[in-house]
Structures are given as structure tokens and as C-alpha cells.
Amino acid sequence: MLLESIKMSYENIVKNKLRSFLTMLGIVIGVASIIALITIVQGATNSISNQVTELGANKITVNVMGTPLKQGLNDENLSNISKLDNISGVSPTISGKTGIIYNGKVIENVTVQGKNEVYFKMDSSLLKTGRPINILDLESKNQVTIIGSDIVNELYYGLNPIGKELIVNGTTYTVIGTLKASSGFSMGSNNDSVVIPYTTALRSLGVKNISSLDVFLDDTTLADDTVTEIKGVLNPAFNYKDNAYTIFNMGDMIESFESMMSMMSLLLAGIAAISLVVGGIGIMNMMLVSITERTTEIGLRKALGATPNRIQLQFVIESIFLSIVGGVIGLVLGGLIAYTASTLIGTEFSISISTISLAVGFSGLVGIVFGYMPARKASQLNPIDALRSL
């Protein structure tokens, strides 16, 4: 019985090709815009949050402003923090600006960063050639340095810088490695800086305190607990003064960014859904016209034994048919638009099953909702009046 109704609906839709197509167009546009918008926004969200994750989702950054009595962290604070649970490593940063000289060539205002071995261990892609800073360098405050790609190009062009000397702030260092050139917008490019052991930096740069600290976590889901524990170490150290330091949790940032983007894609989809409703009204309109045209046919079918439910079913199926076919066309069209757009923008393209089922389900729902009223009207036609209208 269902099969027969589907067949009859199909025949009727095919008979009125142009009209059916125009009616479907409303649904096509509605579904296409929903799919395109959701997919584009989701692709952009994924791309951005992947980039942010690369910067380190497992990282908590502590920035210290200090108090007049204590201007930064010392080694004791550092070791207390690294003893906490869930911490895989602590990487302090000491930075300053100074001039560097090689072979008579001078570069002014170079960023010098004091780092430890953890910094290199946590991101093995930092180093291009040579070796990282190791514990021995830190303990014996070796005067070794790892230099950024711009420095290599300016001072050692055509040479292998490893093993060469570099004068930093008046002291001679040995180059032990080079950093890989970083691109894009990752926080603070290292291309034009030199990295030295932080213990060496404390001594030779004239900086007495550590002002910034990256804390690496084992389990990012426990980040909030770890933040609390770090505060437990830092608060006594700064004598419970306000604004002595800030803690920046990368995971939090990614989370809030993602929730912001999903809000945005919901909002856009909501706007696009309005066009789907307009498409639904188009379907309802066509169904009403079709019923008026086919009054006699409906009357005859009823005379031959079609029950009211049967008539209603046939028209609802016709409406669902139109909207699902429109939905599928819209899905393909929206996918193509999203693919083109994400290729142009350079974000990743992926259509999720939930997006597909949302579109098809929503268009089916539109078919039922907007087909129900006309179908009910058809089923309640009086066969006598209907037959007489010929």
C-alpha cells in the first residue's frame, strides 16, 4: 500500500516537472545554505583550533608581574612547581634584548631567550640542526647558544654556524644548533632570536628573576586542578598579593574559542533555516493547487474505495518526496559550495554525518509539516462534490 502511494506520488511529481522543480527549489536553497554555512564554519573552526592546539593545548603559561619585594620567580619556586602532580615539565623563559656580533658583523636589539632542556624536549620540531640545550649546559651555565633562522641568514650566510662563535652582550658563546624557521601567526616567532641556557641568562643578562613560565601537563583534562595547585605554590611566594601573576590556560582558550564558533554556526544555521520554512510554504502552496486540480480524481478514487487515510497518505508522501529530493539536491549543492569556499579560504573541508542527517531530516520534517494540512483537506473532500465538479 505504501509502495503504491509512493509510486502514485512519483508519477504525479514527474508529470508536473517544471512546477515540481520550482517548488523544490525553495527546499534546495534552504538546505544548501544550511549545509554550506555549517560546513564552512566548522572547517574554519577545526583549522584554527588545530593551529592553536599545535601551540600547545597541554600548556599552562604563568606570567609574573611580581611585587616590589619579589619581582619574579626563583629556582626554588620553579622546583616546587615541577614537583606538583600531573606536570611533565616546566620551562622558564628569561628574555632580554642585546646586540650580537660575529666576525665583525653586528645586529642590534636581538631578543635573547633563556630556556631549559624541557623547552626543547616538549617540541622536537623546534630544532633544525645541532643539539638542544641539555642539563649539563644548565648546571655548568655553559655559554652555548641556539640561533634563529634570520640570524643564520644574516651572520652565517653560506656557512655552517654550528661550532662557530657568537658574541652576545659582550661574552663569547658557541653556536650548538639552529632553530627551524617558523611561519604563520604562532605566538612570537623565534626567527630573529637567540636561545641560551636560562641559568647562563640569569648570570650574564643581568636579569635576576624568571618572569615567564610554561608548565607542561600530563593530562589536560586535569588542567583546572593543576592551575589551583600552581596557585597554591605562587600565592605564598608572593605573599598573597593581588595581580602578582597571571595564569593562562591554553586548553581553556581553545574550549572557549570552540564554543564561540559553534554558537556562531548555530546562529547562521538558524538564519538559513528561515529559508527552509519559506520553501515549506512553497510546497504547501503547490499541494493546495494540485489538490484543486485533482478534485475529480480524488472523488473518483474515493468512489472506487480509497479511504480518507489513504488519500491523506498519498498527498503527504508526495510532499515528503518533494522535500526530501529537494533536501538531497540541496545537500549536494551545499557540499559543493562549502568545498569551493573552503578550498578558496584554505580551511579544511569535512562534512559530518550529523550535518547530513540534520539536512535530510529537517527537509523531511518540512515535507510532513507543510504537507499535512493540504493532504488532510484532500482526504476530507466529499466524493459527490468532487465527482460533480467535472
Partner: protein, 226 residues
């Protein structure tokens, strides 16, 4: 002979605003199985209302109508649809074939609502088209058939469910003299095979083809000798 149809004190009124217009007055009619009956009356006599009630397209305002033992008063729309499908074969003045279906598909139509499988439908429809002599035209659309052929397709459609009553409303009204006579000869043949036929007409010449003629005038029935 078994009674297939029994009307007792049937009245039917239509309401036009406040005013009730009674178009059938206490009609009594009994039809036996195998009868060929004409309901003869001019337009406005109430014969269409009679046809609607007999065909279960409408229900009487008062009175009792039994069709094959079923009391029609008690039935709702869905049950009436089943009764129409099973008990009544309609033949209309203007044939009422669906223009985009072939002759065969038109004949199959009532069997769809009877819930038969596609192969069974086709088989039975072909037997019926053969019965009316049109099996070679079964692929034709209605507009590729003459008026007489269209009416024969409609008769095949009416008979395909093997209904208790063949109910024809001015079956020759849209046909010329010659093809009209052919349709009447087909009716006589069918009646000869024990089909119960009720035919509604205003044409006394056509009505005479039946064994029994009942006259209807202003909502009253009178039996007439042929």
C-alpha cells in the same frame, strides 16, 4: 432470490441555511440478486440523490438502508470506503477515467484499494478487459480510445472487484445512439450472467433495456410495468 439491497423509509434532506429541502420522501426499495433495474426520472427528481445513497457516497437523513446485509447508517467514512470498494461498481456518464493512466491501469485502480498484489491486479484487470473486448487496447491512454471504448473500460473497472451491484449513472449519456446501444447490449449480457445492475437514467428508451423500471418523480418512487 436473495435481497442484495433494501431501503426502508429512506428520506434525505439538504439544508440551505435555515431551510430544509427534502429531496427523497420515505422511499422503499428492494432489489434482488440478479435483477436489472432502471431508475427513471427527469433531472431534479432526486435520482442522483438515490444513486449517491445506493452507492454509499452519501447517507440518508432517516430510514434504514441495508446493502448485502450491512447497515449503512452505522458506518464511518473509512468503512463506507471499504463497502464501496467491495460492493459497488460505479459507471459514470462521463466515464471518469484517469487521463494519464493506460486502460489497464485504470481498470486496476479499485484493486489497489482492495489491497491486491501487482501481479494479481494485472491478471484480473486483463480478464475484465477481455470480457469487454478491449484487451488489445490495454496499453492505450483514454484519449486514444473512442467514447464507447472508454465507457467499456469504465465498465471493466466497475466489474473488476466483482461487486454486488453494478451502479450506472446515465451510462449512455455521453455516447451516440449506436455505441449507446452497444453498451446496453453489454449490460444485458452481464445481467444474463447474473450480475445485479441498477441504472439511473432520464431516457425511457434506455430504461426499457432493464427488466424492471422504477420511476422517480419529486422524491417519490413508483413501480412501473415495462
Amino acid at each position: 432470490m436473495a435481497e442484495v439491497l433494501k431501503m426502508q423509509n429512506i428520506s434525505k434532506s439538504y439544508y440551505m441555511g435555515e431551510e430544509a429541502l427534502e429531496v427523497l420522501h420515505n422511499v422503499n426499495l428492494t432489489v434482488n440478486s440478479g435483477e436489472f433495474l432502471s431508475l427513471l426520472g427527469p433531472s431534479g427528481s432526486g435520482k442522483s440523490t438515490m444513486m449517491n445513497i445506493i452507492g454509499c457516497l452519501d447517507v440518508p437523513t432517516s430510514g434504514k438502508y441495508l446493502l448485502s446485509g450491512n447497515d449503512i447508517d452505522d458506518l464511518d467514512e473509512t468503512e463506507l470506503a471499504f463497502i464501496r470498494n467491495k460492493e459497488i461498481g460505479f459507471v459514470f456518464q462521463s466515464f471518469q477515467l484517469l487521463p494519464r493512466l493506460s486502460a489497464l491501469q485504470n481498470v486496476e485502480l479499485p484493486l489497489i484499494y482492495a489491497g491486491l498484489s501487482s501481479s494479481e491486479r494485472k491478471q484480473r484487470a486483463m480478464i475484465m478487459l477481455d470480457r469487454v473486448g478491449l484487451v488489445d487496447k490495454m496499453k492505450n491512454l483514454p484519449n486514444q480510445l473512442s467514447g464507447g471504448q472508454q465507457q467499456r473500460v469504465a465498465i471493466a473497472r466497475a466489474l473488476v472487484t466483482e461487486p454486488t451491484i453494478l451502479l450506472a449513472d446515465e451510462p449512455t449519456g455521453a455516447l451516440d445512439q449506436k455505441t449507446g446501444t452497444q453498451v446496453m447490449e453489454l449490460f444485458e449480457e452481464l445481467n444474463h450472467d447474473d450480475k445485479t445492475i441498477i441504472m439511473i437514467t432520464h431516457d425511457i428508451g434506455i430504461a426499457r433495456h432493464a427488466q424492471r423500471v422504477v420511476k422517480i418523480l419529486d422524491g417519490y418512487l413508483t413501480e412501473q410495468e415495462v
